[in-house]
């Protein structure tokens, strides 16, 4: 993978001029985060300020335990490489952001949750820079980075999502108010503490300020991780990765829980720009699908992967996702059964909203967008044809 930047200072090119701290007034970080309009970069896009404030407030309730802060670098998403890129190229920004957040909310315990193969180098870096941080290894599963799964793993149990009775910001690790923040969000906090909110807002749009790390893959010349401002037109984003390597028909935005949309160069990559497609930038994943590939074959492959990645806990997910994937495979294989699209719709209704985490809902979003974006292909397949003759089978 290539790793490139636009403009400086950049998340992946920061030269490390020594630790960034707001030691005299650690709570100033909350003001910075609010003024900057920073949102979480792990996928959900929740305002970082509100999460910080909720954890800080929870800690002030009488009898409350001191907060726990966790940097989440699990990145189970196969099409995403940005957290790994950050932890490899700019670990200092992640560690600084983590300590800034920990000091801002008055945390007692501070963890960095990261892939096992990165743990040794991160521990070495932490020993010199921020010895309060404990590294906990994240298993290599799609769901390991889900907030409640992270909490479970930090508590020493399997990284599986749990039933949510209370918000994690109020009651997370062993009942303590807990902040789980994606590592890219933490790196943004570090740069924000150094350069300030106006600098942060100088990129991106008014409503969605700042930059994000995009992972581009599929039919692009230079797949890799690139920093870009929110609102960047899709065509420009693809150009950062050297442009398309062949004609594109669609792009998957937001990862395997994201949505397909037609490959239109002018579409702004922002929540506002992608809303009409039922998509959002999510964690910055963009997969380019060439016209030579079959969208249904690719969708069935991803749906099968998602079905295999069920944590195995919730009935509708355990039973429904494999059925959904099998139905998509039949469509992809040009099984001429006209009841298949109706069956997909019925199964989507059966799994939506029926799980402890958002794995069923994310899968529903992905499959729904597959059926909408590749609707002409569905009709072709039901008639026994495929517009991408010669495409690989699922």
């Amino acid at each position: 993978m290539t790793t490139t930047l636009v403009g400086t200072p950049g998340l992946l090119t920061d030269p490390d001029a020594g630790p960034i701290r707001l030691s005299h007034e650690p709570r100033r970080l909350l003001v910075f985060a609010e003024e900057a309009g920073l949102t979480g970069r792990g996928g959900a896009g929740f305002p970082t300020y509100r999460k910080l404030a909720a954890v800080a407030a929870g800690a002030q309730k009488s009898g409350a335990e001191r907060p726990v802060v966790i940097g989440n670098g699990a990145e189970g998403e196969p099409a995403s490489g940005k957290d790994r890129a950050l932890l490899t190229h700019s670990p200092h920004l992640v560690l600084d952001g983590l300590m800034l957040a920990a000091e801002a909310v008055g945390a007692e315990k501070v963890y960095l949750y990261a892939p096992a193969d990165l743990a040794p180098s991160l521990r070495a870096r932490i020993a010199q820079r921020a010895p309060r941080i404990t590294v906990v290894e994240a298993p290599d599963t799609f769901i390991s980075g889900e907030e409640s799964a992270v909490i479970s793993r930090i508590e020493g149990r399997a990284a599986l999502p749990r039933d949510k009775r209370r918000l994690v910001v109020e009651s997370g690790v062993r009942g303590a108010p807990t902040l789980v923040q994606n590592v890219e969000t933490l790196a943004h906090l570090a740069l924000l503490a150094r350069y300030g909110p106006s600098w942060f807002r100088s990129r991106g749009t008014r409503q969605e300020p700042g930059t994000f790390l995009a992972t581009l893959s599929g039919a692009v010349r230079m797949p890799g991780v690139y920093e870009a401002p929110y609102g960047i037109p899709l065509g420009e984003l693809v150009s950062l990765a050297g442009g398309p390597s062949s004609d594109l028909q669609a792009v998957l935005v937001g990862g395997y829980h994201g949505a397909w949309l037609p490959a239109r160069a002018e579409v702004p990559v922002s929540r506002a720009g992608l809303r009409q497609y039922g998509a959002s930038p999510g964690a910055g994943v963009v997969v380019a699908l060439p016209t030579s590939a079959c969208g249904l074959v690719e969708s069935a492959r991803i749906a099968s992967y998602l079905a295999r990645q069920t944590a195995g806990q919730c009935g509708p997910c355990v039973n429904g996702l494999p059925r959904l994937a099998d139905t998509l495979i039949r469509l992809a294989r040009r099984d001429r059964d006209t009841r298949l699209p109706g069956e997909v719709e019925r199964l989507l209704g059966l799994v939506a909203g029926r799980g402890a985490c958002h794995h069923p809902d994310g899968t529903v979003r992905f499959v729904r967008s597959s059926m909408a974006t590749f609707a002409p292909e569905v009709r072709m397949h039901l008639a026994g044809y495929c517009t991408a003759e010669g495409a690989s089978d699922v």
């Binding site: 999502p161 009775r165 919730c314 009935g315 509708p316």
Partner: protein, 70 residues
């Protein structure tokens, strides 16, 4: 304050008792898991059966939560 059913999907194993005790609110899907007919807010008239369903769930996967009425 009104009451709301909460299903702990990680605990539920589709034994289906809730569907029998609270058919006004819950269907069972083809695998035996509860499926709300119209949301999970418990009408006052069903408060009794809802409590019974919660108390008798063999997996303790059903709970009643109070929610602020808007």
């Amino acid at each position: 304050m009104s009451e709301r059913l909460h299903i702990d999907w990680t605990a539920c194993r589709g034994r289906g008792l809730c569907g029998e005790l609270l058919p006004e609110m819950l269907d069972l899907d083809e695998w035996g898991y509860p499926r709300p007919k119209q949301g999970l807010s418990v009408p006052r008239a069903l408060s009794g059966p809802a409590r019974q369903a919660v108390g008798l769930c063999p997996r303790q996967a059903l709970r009643l939560q109070t929610e602020a009425t808007s």
